[in-house]
């Protein structure tokens, strides 16, 4: 079977300007939503109490909300979780009250209304933990960005390092933008997914950059745009198949992984879709705008076309 019967190089870069304008707008929108709406952070970050209770019959959310509200919490968050019988309750941290007993208090109040209710999960996180998590998350992000840039700058060229990071941060910010816009819950698992996307999406850029470098060395007559178009065209089948298979896995998580993995898988899905787009149109285009040229690639002139030279990069 062969899905990709491409005769000529696809002129990806011809549309780069328009598409980059679109991605800039998407990016700006994502940033705008991040600032205007903010992320709906999970209890792990904000501190507070999270409870998951399960009823034997479909739960009456209004009644649950009422019961919890009578306990005197400011902002209570009650919603269905997975099925109609499972309810998730979020309570803010309460000063002065022994937070460890919060969940028991709520549960006994709910039990008074309906003795059938059972506690499936309760989490309590103190506010200091949340602050630390935000700090650690940002540290991890900085470490990933720095590490990848350094590696790419050493193995390739600083222009590639810069464009790869722009392309991948673009993905990350857009994922965050989605979470801000739809107010999906941003939990630690989602953070893990976002950081995994960063590593994953770089793969994509690396494969294309590898081929661009290769092409610069092989096709001396082509100009930069042609070289980039050829590099993307000849790797597009691999790009689609790889992302497709990863997406199959993620889809399987989305379908079978249950509520707990839902947002994790969703973040990965967005990351994968934008990962393809960004390495083709953002990464390669930024590298083009930065003015990569043959001179950048053939700097260490030892053996120009030696396939056993590990610095010559791979052919895909």
């Amino acid at each position: 079977m062969e899905l990709f019967k491409i005769k000529k190089d696809i002129p990806f870069m011809r549309h780069a300007l328009v598409l980059n304008a679109i991605s800039f707008i998407t990016f700006a929108l994502a940033v705008f939503f991040l600032f205007s709406r903010g992320l709906h952070l999970s209890v792990e970050f904000t501190g507070g109490t999270l409870m998951e209770v399960s009823y034997s019959q479909p739960a009456d959310l209004q009644k649950v909300r009422g019961t919890v509200a009578t306990l005197g919490y400011g902002e209570v968050f009650v919603q269905n979780f997975g099925s109609a019988r499972d309810v998730m309750i979020r309570l803010p941290t309460q000063k002065g009250v022994n937070s460890a007993q919060q969940s028991e208090k709520v549960l006994s109040a709910l039990k008074a209304n309906d003795p059938d209710v059972t506690l499936r999960r309760a989490e309590f996180v103190g506010p200091q933990v949340g602050d630390e998590l935000v700090e650690d998350g940002l540290m991890a992000l900085a470490f990933v960005v720095g590490g990848i840039m350094l590696y790419l700058a050493i193995r390739f060229e600083w222009k590639f390092a810069v464009s790869a990071i722009i392309a991948n941060l673009h993905d990350v910010v857009i994922i965050l933008g989605f979470f801000a816009f739809f107010q999906w819950e941003f939990s630690l698992a989602v953070l893990a997914a976002v950081l995994a996307v960063l590593g994953y999406s770089v793969n994509e850029s690396v494969v294309i950059f590898d081929r661009i470098r290769e092409n610069f060395r092989r096709y001396r007559k082509m100009n930069t745009v042609e070289i980039i178009d050829n590099a993307i065209t000849s790797t597009i089948s691999r790009t689609i198949i790889t992302h497709g298979s990863t997406q199959i896995m993620v889809l399987s998580m989305l379908l079978f992984g249950g509520e707990t993995l839902y947002y994790f898988a969703l973040a990965l899905t967005i990351g994968i879709c934008f990962g393809i787009y960004s390495s083709v149109f953002v990464g390669a285009a930024v590298a083009m705008w930065l003015g990569i040229s043959r001179e950048d690639m053939v700097k260490p002139i030892k053996k120009d076309n030696d396939p056993s030279d590990e610095n010559s990069g791979a052919v895909v």
Binding site: E2, I6, E52, V125, A265, P307
Partner: protein, 626 residues
């Protein structure tokens, strides 16, 4: 061209065998069991305990599936949960004659059903996180300021008595937070006090303070000593938590230090969070202080009375007030054991305490100087103190064996002993994070994680076979090997598998196929450009390697960052993610090439390879190399 030397196949076969052996225990599931472990530091679980357990089971004719003595505990494997409960009762009756003073902890547990030869090879199933098996998780924050204050208070007391011994006069010693201030009359005294501290108190440092005409000596604890105090406080709290959790009878508790001032406690299988919290949350510290029996103090015992300087007011258990000196004689650190008993002469209930060497010395000095006076044992819980008992000192007590008696019932003596024995905390703690996961949710999570891995794997495998034919099959097998090795390594490392970890497993498989796609596409491209099959295979593997290496390294960087900075679920994800990248490099490149070489490598005149359609554009339109 495409042949592996024998040693490479040997490596592959060994890897597969090891992978299979260490993955195997995961398939046997778990059997109900009863675990017997020591309830006291002085009691060791050994072969005689094993014998006793066996006798108890035989006497009640309970069939077991095996008894093992493993480290500090005996585990009895049983057929069913009914048998498990019966066995627990029987063992409990035989080993613990006096329920108020349990020598052993008998707990319900689950053990792997895997056969003995696997266990002998140290092959055990993956360790499941709480989100997969159910239980409670706590994170506790230790109040280090309080630990330091306590230490400084004790040092202040020592300083006072040493200065009295050496006859160095001073105008008063007071503690202000972690600073001690000694008022002195002249420079000579200041010098003498300073020398004394340098000689006898290696933990303290001094600085001279002149406040107007008044001379003072500022004393505070050295930073390195402060660090040591904090480390010890944390260590003692962990030990105390161990003792307390033992009382709960939890099978495999996890009690770990996290960072400089935190402790993580995980109690798998525990559902009664209220009781767990109650026992953990008894953030008790124990102190022995002298009762102030001056007339002012007596007056202050009455409601509304002024508490004299240097004393504090605490309530006794029956609600009466007691004025106690601020100076701490002993803390719970110096207590090694507490047992209820009866006085041999009066036959009244008593509590027998055993002190460590330092405690015994201090106690001897204090009791000698204070015969006829009262001494209070105060238990601090959540910052509030309560006098457990305040006996009168009848005589000097040496040797570190102390008897507390007076106005106690047998039950009270038992309770006091238990509280004292459970150990006190070196510093108060607070629960800052708590998670409870019901067992049904855990089982559901396992099923969901397992389903997503299985379905994803099957669909990808099917696609690869359809798209790349024989090479797709090789890729699929390589993917399976990847999963096998991943599970084997996780089982061997006994890394905790969580739900995000299962997600990472699925993601690792999705990403691992990338390497094979790169290789297969490259082989096709070589064929398209007219290379011979053998050359195409060779070039495909060789040239894809650099790309695979680069892309995996960048992913690895992300994985390592997550491991370094992540906590909880993020770390669970990162462990599997990182190991998955490493195993995929082995399976997708090294192993799959081994398969290909085995299949095609021997054929000298290979005419075609089965790698699906190799589509060739019309001559002239294909990109040509110059």
């Amino acid at each position: 061209m495409n042949r592996y030397p024998v040693w490479k196949y040997v490596v592959i076969v060994i890897a597969l065998l090891l992978g299979a052996v260490y993955t195997l225990p995961n398939f046997f599931g778990e059997a109900p069991a009863v675990q017997v472990s020591s309830g006291k530091a002085t009691i060791k679980v050994d072969t005689s305990t094993l014998q006793k357990v066996e006798d108890a089971l035989n006497a009640n004719s309970i069939n077991t599936r095996g008894l093992v003595l493993d480290g500090g505990s005996v585990r009895v494997r049983l057929e069913s949960t009914d048998e498990q409960l019966k066995a627990k009762d029987a063992i409990q009756k035989a080993l613990i004659p006096d329920a108020s003073d349990p020598q052993f902890v008998v707990a319900l547990n689950l053990v792997s059903r895997s056969p003995g030869w696997l266990t002998a090879l140290y092959a055990s199933p993956m360790y499941l996180g709480l989100d997969l098996r159910g239980g409670v998780h706590f994170m506790l924050q230790v109040d280090m300021q309080a630990a330091l204050n306590q230490r400084v208070e004790a040092l202040t007391g020592e300083l006072r008595s040493v200065m009295r011994e050496k006859d160095i006069r001073h105008g008063g010693i007071s503690r202000n937070g972690q600073n001690i201030e000694i008022r002195v009359r002249d420079a000579q005294q200041q010098e003498a006090a300073k020398r004394l501290i340098t000689d006898q108190f290696p933990d303290l440092q001094t600085r001279e303070v002149t406040d107007g005409a008044e001379l003072r000596l500022g004393v505070n604890i050295k930073p390195e000593s402060a660090r040591k105090v904090q480390e010890q406080a944390l260590k003692q709290n962990i030990t105390t938590l161990h003792n307390r959790i033992n009382e709960l009878g939890v099978a495999e508790p996890v009690i770990q230090q996290q960072g400089l001032d935190r402790i993580v406690v995980q109690l798998p299988g525990v559902q009664d969070t209220a009781k767990a919290k109650d026992i953990l949350g008894r953030t008790a510290t124990l102190e022995v202080r002298m009762v102030d029996e001056s007339t002012e103090a007596r007056a202050a015992e009455q409601p509304g009375g002024m508490v004299p300087f240097g004393t504090e007011r605490y309530l006794e258990r029956d609600g009466r007030a007691l004025i106690v000196k601020k100076q701490v004689v002993l803390t719970g650190d110096n207590l090694t054991d507490a047992q209820p008993g009866f006085d041999s002469q009066t036959q009244e209930p008593v509590v027998n305490l055993t002190l460590d060497g330092k405690g015994a010395r201090i106690f001897k000095d204090v009791t000698r100087d204070n015969v006829g006076k009262r001494m209070a044992i105060i238990l601090f819980e959540k910052g509030k103190g309560e006098v457990v008992t305040a006996p009168v000192i009848r005589a000097e007590i040496g040797g570190g064996r102390v008897q507390i008696s007076g106005r106690m019932t047998t039950v009270e003596a038992n309770d006091t002993a238990l509280l004292l024995r459970a150990g006190s905390l070196a510093a108060p703690m607070e629960i800052i994070e708590e998670r409870t996961i019901g067992p049904s949710l855990g089982a559901e999570n396992i099923a969901k994680g397992f389903n997503s891995v299985t379905w994803g794997f099957l669909v990808i495998g099917a696609f690869m076979v359809i798209y790349y034919a024989m090479f797709g099959l090789f890729s699929g097998i390589a993917l399976g090997v990847n999963l096998l090795l991943l599970v084997a390594i996780l089982s061997t490392l006994q890394a905790t598998l969580t739900l995000p970890g299962m997600a990472a497993m699925a993601l690792a498989l999705g990403m691992a196929i990338d390497s094979n796609v790169l290789i297969n596409e490259r082989v096709r491209e070589e064929l398209r450009n007219g290379a011979s099959p053998q050359a195409a295979i060779h070039a495909g593997y060789d040239r894809a390697w650099a790309t695979i290496f680069d892309s995996n390294i960048t992913t690895l960087i992300a994985g390592v960052a997550l491991l370094a900075f992540g906590s909880g679920p993020v770390r669970g994800f990162a462990v599997v993610h990182t190991i998955g990248i490493l195993t995929s490099m082995f399976s997708a490149v090294f192993f799959s090439r081994g398969l290909v070489n085995l299949w095609y490598g021997g054929q000298k005149k290979l005419k075609s390879v089965s790698i699906g359609t190799v589509w060739r554009p019309e001559a002239g339109t294909a990109v040509k190399a110059d």
